[in-house]
């Protein structure tokens, strides 16, 4: 048993030396996830700072009433809308050419309360989210103006302001002083995980290449146990993954202000689990792939899919409900939850430990399957001339 561990250690040390030997590649391996995470963070940070893209709205005012004037003025002044006036004949052209995302039509007689004259909103194909957003803003503006004009005897504008002050919603973030930390926290955790899966895939492909070549046959004719050799590869992948997690989260903390507010022990547990996941995924790729080309294509597809569904790219709440449900069976989703809990979300060790346990379980299953396949198939390629 002692020699088994010694072989695993020797193989791991050799793999780490190979990793270090290509120092340019090693540097890129550390810098690329930071660059990717920073890019994603900058893209999504604007939203959290209130610098959202304004919805392009076309406004068709067919009614000359004071109320409609007030609504139009309120919409033009709204910081989340870019309003341009349109005539009725321009509506279809502007929507189809996507010059505007939505068009609000205030029909003739609407301000006077004519029956059946309700405002209508049309939206460009694919702009459902913008339409919902604009409808909410427009409804708020219309109700405010309607209140002013319909209830003059009850105080009019004063009453509306009083109602707004009393019942209006006050919005605040869960971590008010730390919006950037949250946005960059998500992107750094997500991109780190995605990159580690790709790194694991590369390690698996390297193993697949070795199995087809002379090195593996030489190792197979040595007294070293095949399981020890494979475990050594997994160990090296884990060590590299841990270094990458430390480097990426260190950059996130020092440069982008992502706080590590959760349990340090929880963070270590999750980081170890994530590195296990990367290593076991790599071995799974090596064990199931019959050729390097096929294994690479399938692995890329699977990694991109589990990254998207696991919420590594976009926060889960932006995804459709069925994708969010699917996330519960994805190891990537659990790994992300664990990393986020231990860093910017500031959760205790319990939540991180639960996520880590799920990820360990997945890693264990992947490892068992990979070992079974890798040690069952004959090492190296078949001798020449054998059908």
């Amino acid at each position: 048993m002692f020699s088994w561990f010694r072989v695993a250690r020797d193989v791991a040390v050799k793999d780490l030396m190979l990793f270090r030997a290509d120092w340019r590649g090693a540097m890129l391996a550390f810098l690329v996830p930071v660059a990717l995470a920073a890019l994603f963070g900058f893209i999504f940070r604007n939203g959290s700072r209130g610098q959202v893209e304004r919805v392009a709205m076309g406004l068709v005012v067919e009614d000359g009433s004071a109320m409609c004037g007030g609504v139009a003025e309120a919409l033009r002044g709204h910081r989340h809308l870019a309003v341009r006036s349109l005539s009725a004949s321009q509506i279809e052209d502007c929507l189809l050419s996507q010059q505007v995302a939505v068009v609000l039509i205030l029909p003739e007689g609407f301000g006077g309360g004519a029956p059946g004259q309700r405002p209508r909103m049309r939206h460009a194909p694919g702009c459902l989210y913008e339409a919902n957003w604009a409808a909410g803003i427009a409804t708020e503006a219309i109700l405010r103006e309607a209140g002013r004009s319909i209830l003059p005897q009850a105080g009019g504008a004063g009453l509306v302001d009083m109602l707004e002050n009393r019942f209006g919603i006050v919005r605040e973030a869960a971590t008010p002083a730390d919006q950037d930390g949250a946005v960059f926290g998500h992107s750094f955790c997500g991109m780190t995980l995605q990159y580690l899966l790709f790194m694991g895939m590369d390690c698996g492909l390297l193993l697949l290449r070795e199995r087809a070549g002379g090195v593996w046959r030489r190792l197979a004719s040595s007294p070293a146990s095949p399981t020890a050799i494979i475990a050594g590869r997994a160990l090296a992948t884990m060590v590299i993954a841990l270094m990458q997690i430390a480097f990426t989260l260190g950059c996130a903390w020092l440069v982008f202000g992502v706080p590590v507010k959760g349990s340090i022990a929880g963070l270590i547990l999750v980081a170890l689990a994530v590195s296990c996941l990367a290593a076991s995924c790599g071995l799974l790729v090596a064990s199931l792939g019959r050729s390097e080309g096929r294994a690479r294509s399938i692995a890329i597809l699977v990694i991109l899919a589990v990254s998207l569904v696991g919420g590594l790219w976009l926060p889960a709440f932006l995804l459709p409900w069925w994708v969010r449900d699917l996330g519960w069976i994805m190891p990537t989703a659990w790994a992300l939850r664990g990393l986020e809990a231990a860093t910017w979300q500031g959760a205790g060790i319990g939540r991180a430990a639960l996520c880590a346990a799920v990820v360990y379980a997945y890693s264990f299953v992947f490892l068992v399957v990979a070992m079974a396949f890798l040690t069952r198939r004959p090492a190296g390629r078949q001798p020449r001339g054998i059908p």
Partner: protein, 270 residues
């Protein structure tokens, strides 16, 4: 013949319905080099894989220095140095680190390992290149390092699968020199090759495999005498067909062939 370092008895290996090796008997004493000759698909590589312990199992027994793989896999494998046809070294690690790694995998550690690495480098004349990576080596130097990695644990049987593929004559002679010195040290060597001239230059014994069976085995002198007495003469219409059949089933590689194929001669004449 003295008790063999390598002793193969009735080895049969199946691949599906096909017998890749069929009731093979071979004996190789210490300090001898055996050339394993045969055309593609004759069972050379399968025999090498079965002896090297690459998970190729069949019936019969293979013993190296009296030990079979079933008795003690680790001890059996420590007695074998295997040199695959492909380079089995890490191009990004220095020659020294390559040898250190393969030595550790063989279970050698500490001061003893360093001594063995120094000896192996010296044996293949790479002592002054120890700190260089094989990626900067010539083809011949890489092959010598490939060989040194199999020598690090001082095996009593060396298995070499076409160790001179793609080498120029000087590099090939350097490999031959290493193998001759191994023979002087009492190591038994099995050399799988397509080249009769390699067998002639280096080997004490030759075994020719055909369709998994041992077609003939003995010293080169024995085989030459045997073939000389079987010289045939073919005339008339049957000659090209017979020659084509001989060349199709021959173990002789193209660059050793003296007679161009009849089809080529016909094309040339046309």
């Amino acid at each position: 013949m003295a008790a063999g370092v390598l002793s193969i008895r009735q080895l049969t290996v199946w691949y599906g319905a096909r017998r890749a090796v069929d009731q093979l008997d071979l004996e190789l004493p210490a300090g001898h080099i055996l050339a394993l000759l045969g055309p593609n698909g004759s069972g050379k590589s399968t025999t090498m894989a079965a002896v090297a312990g690459h998970g190729v199992r069949g019936t019969g027994t293979v013993r190296v220095d009296g030990v079979s793989e079933d008795d003690s896999p680790a001890e059996y494998r420590r007695k074998i140095g295997y040199v695959p046809q492909d380079l089995a070294i890490y191009e990004e690690l220095s020659a020294f680190n390559n040898l250190m790694f393969f030595g550790r995998i063989q279970g050698i550690h500490g001061h003893k390992l360093r001594e063995r690495v120094a000896d192996a480098l010296d044996f293949v004349h790479l002592t002054h290149q120890a700190d260089r990576c094989p990626s900067t080596f010539s083809g011949g130097m890489k092959r010598r390092l490939n060989l040194a990695c199999a020598l690090i644990h001082q095996p009593c049987l060396m298995l070499l699968d076409e160790p001179t593929v793609g080498l120029d004559i000087a590099s090939r002679d350097a490999i031959f020199d290493v193998l001759r010195r191994l023979r002087r040290q009492g190591v038994a060597v099995v050399l799988a090759t397509h080249h009769l001239d390699e067998a002639q230059a280096l080997c004490d014994r030759v075994a020719i495999l055909r369709e998994g069976r041992l077609a003939m085995e003995g010293t080169l002198d024995d085989l030459t005498r045997q073939y000389r007495s079987r010289t045939g003469y073919f005339t008339g219409e049957q000659a090209p067909t017979v020659l084509e059949e001989i060349m199709r089933t021959s173990m002789v590689s193209d660059n050793s062939t003296r007679i161009p194929p009849p089809s080529a001669r016909r094309a040339e004449a046309a």
